[in-house]
Symmetry: C2
Subunit: 362 residues, 2 copies
């Protein structure tokens, strides 16, 4: 029997029906004019979601982590100073990715579960090449204030992980002044994992390394295919079906209206967080920096004799609901409950609250 | 109107109906036990296709070119000597990828359209770290003899690009002694582009770089998720839907029988090549090293006043058939006609021959 889940973990989320339909579309070649039209429209739709006019806006051919790697490998080389805000797993990962490229990392830590201090990030080094931070920390449910960092960045390039934020909460690439951002398809876009939507401002583009250590993620070469000024130069074969899926998912978001999608995520998040508190749960993230699309709760001491893993298993096997475990220093101590993409419906909030109350006898 | 092509270019090929069905399967989380079962089975099926018992056999989360990059970045670092056989675009690409990693490249060239000389590859350097070659050159339609190189490789690691060969012609990873091979999903497997099936022998694995410059393609870390000895360690979010699709495509091949799939590709290739010669075309690759799944023909001088691009456009717009143009030194001089995956049916061969004859008035 094929299992059918309500995906309320930290991603993937459930797929919009339109996305599933898009997968049944007959395959096209990556140089077929009809495919290139879909690709161009996908990039246009990404511009609308990122609120940007950046020409270089594209789906990178890999998951969100591929987007992170593509971002750093094109901007950072040996000895470059990179200030990284770290208050969760994905800030940690940025240090690892940039460190492997030989960058000099200046870490600015905040405790997991708390937001970064923008002033501390800006004061960490007098002249960094790049300041990097995660907008929505998937490991903690915390939102970091990108806008505050952008305002004071000076000559540094601002690199933002928008994996869990894009489409779920406001992101204003151009208005804020973000130089490069990448996202994932499997969070607030209702598309399966496999692509990393990215946008690159002219300033960041002008700083691209000449011949980055990665050929696959060389955005200068990829641009010649994606932008297609004066013809399309083949780089690698585009993941056509995934792009059909992304095209469709973005279509759903834009048909609803981007603000409408933000509202829906907010409404679901508030209902979920209110409901969890009513059930006696304590939320991890402080109210001002709490993501609506990804909620982290402390695992209660009293689980009626069950382990936290058994509670998750009960949700999975009795109700077909996936929620996420904690990671890093929060492993075993928190649950992560996502409500993103097509999952972000009040009916799923009610279902989760009911099932969780039932399992825990509350 | 949604366009529906007969994909007879150098890839992607048409999808098996089972693959399209698999895409409609409800999404699962990347740590869901039911997904991990599909992933494990996918890796088992890849072992059957590669004819290997290698534990580390997996779909890399990117296209075939991502497989190439993952292969080199884990095996090659600054100053390592890499002998690369170059008789087409993908051998060239290997030099570029390995060169960016700081390897000392020893090129062994053969003209595009001719096979590599195994003896020359083996004599090129007394003690290379890696000998790399492409099994089926997608840019020329030529098969290189992997087995001959494997036999004489000595202490070098043998790295093989099997993008266009896996599932289409015999590939025997263990019997030949291939240390690492990668492929693509969009050629002989009837699956869309987006994953790179890879297999790594213990010898290659023991030579993995400790902290390769790429975090995303760090196979040592990825193995902890894919192999799951003692639990699954999250690395990046697996591209779940694409893995469903690959799982289904491999299922089709194994249900037919791998030898059956080889036979079908051979039969179609022979019918196509015979038919093209009957139409007066001259084939590029020499008979002994001619791929059945990808046929390259010289563009005739007399196209009745059409350009070669116009002929391809006529096939695309009048008949919905895609064939490929030449690349590199063969640009404008050859056509590349694929017959792979679900495209590899005699009915498509007949269709192409009929349509081409019609367009050219032969």
């Amino acid at each position: 029997m094929i299992s059918d889940r309500v995906l309320m973990g930290p991603g993937p989320s459930n797929l919009y029906p339109e996305v599933v339909s898009a997968f049944t579309r007959p395959l096209l070649g990556h140089l077929d004019p009809d495919f290139l039209e879909v690709l161009d429209e996908t990039c246009d739709r990404l511009r609308a979601l990122y609120r940007t006019a950046n020409s270089l806006t594209l789906p990178v051919s890999g998951t969100g982590s591929a987007g992170m790697e593509a971002a750093f490998v094109n901007l950072v080389g040996p000895g470059d100073v990179v200030v990284v805000g770290v208050n969760g797993l994905f800030g940690e990962r940025m240090c690892e990715v940039a460190g492997r490229l030989g960058a000099e990392i200046v870490r600015v830590d905040a405790p997991w579960g708390e937001p970064l201090d923008a002033a501390a990030l800006l004061a960490a080094h007098p002249s960094p090449s790049v300041i990097a931070l995660v907008h929505a920390e998937t490991s903690t449910g915390v939102r970091n204030d990108v806008e505050d960092v952008a305002r004071g960045k000076g000559d540094a390039l601002l690199l933002v992980d928008a994996v869990t934020s894009l489409g779920g909460i406001p992101f204003e690439a151009d208005r804020w002044g973000v130089d490069l951002a990448y996202s994932g398809t499997q969070k607030c876009l209702g598309v399966p994992p496999g692509l990393s939507p990215m946008t690159v401002a002219a300033r960041a583009r002008a700083s691209f390394k000449d011949r980055p250590s990665s050929w696959y993620f060389d955005l200068g070469l990829i641009a010649r295919y994606v932008e297609g000024e004066g013809g399309r130069t083949y780089h690698h074969t585009a993941p056509v079906s995934m792009i059909f899926a992304l095209h469709a998912g973005l279509g759903v978001v834009l048909e609803e209206g981007l603000e409408g999608a933000w509202d829906r995520h907010r409404e679901c998040g508030q209902a979920l967080q209110g409901g969890l508190e009513k059930l006696g749960f304590e939320l991890v993230a402080p109210p001002e920096h709490r993501l609506p699309q990804l909620t982290t709760v402390w695992v209660p001491d009293d689980l009626g004799g069950m382990s936290e893993a058994e509670v998750r298993a009960a949700l999975l096997y009795r109700y077909g609901i996936e929620i996420g475990a904690g990671v890093g220093p929060l492993a075993g101590r928190v649950w992560r409950i996502g409500c993103m993409g097509h999952t972000a419906r009040l009916r799923n909030v009610e279902l989760l609250l009911g099932a969780l109350g039932e399992v825990l006898g509350r």
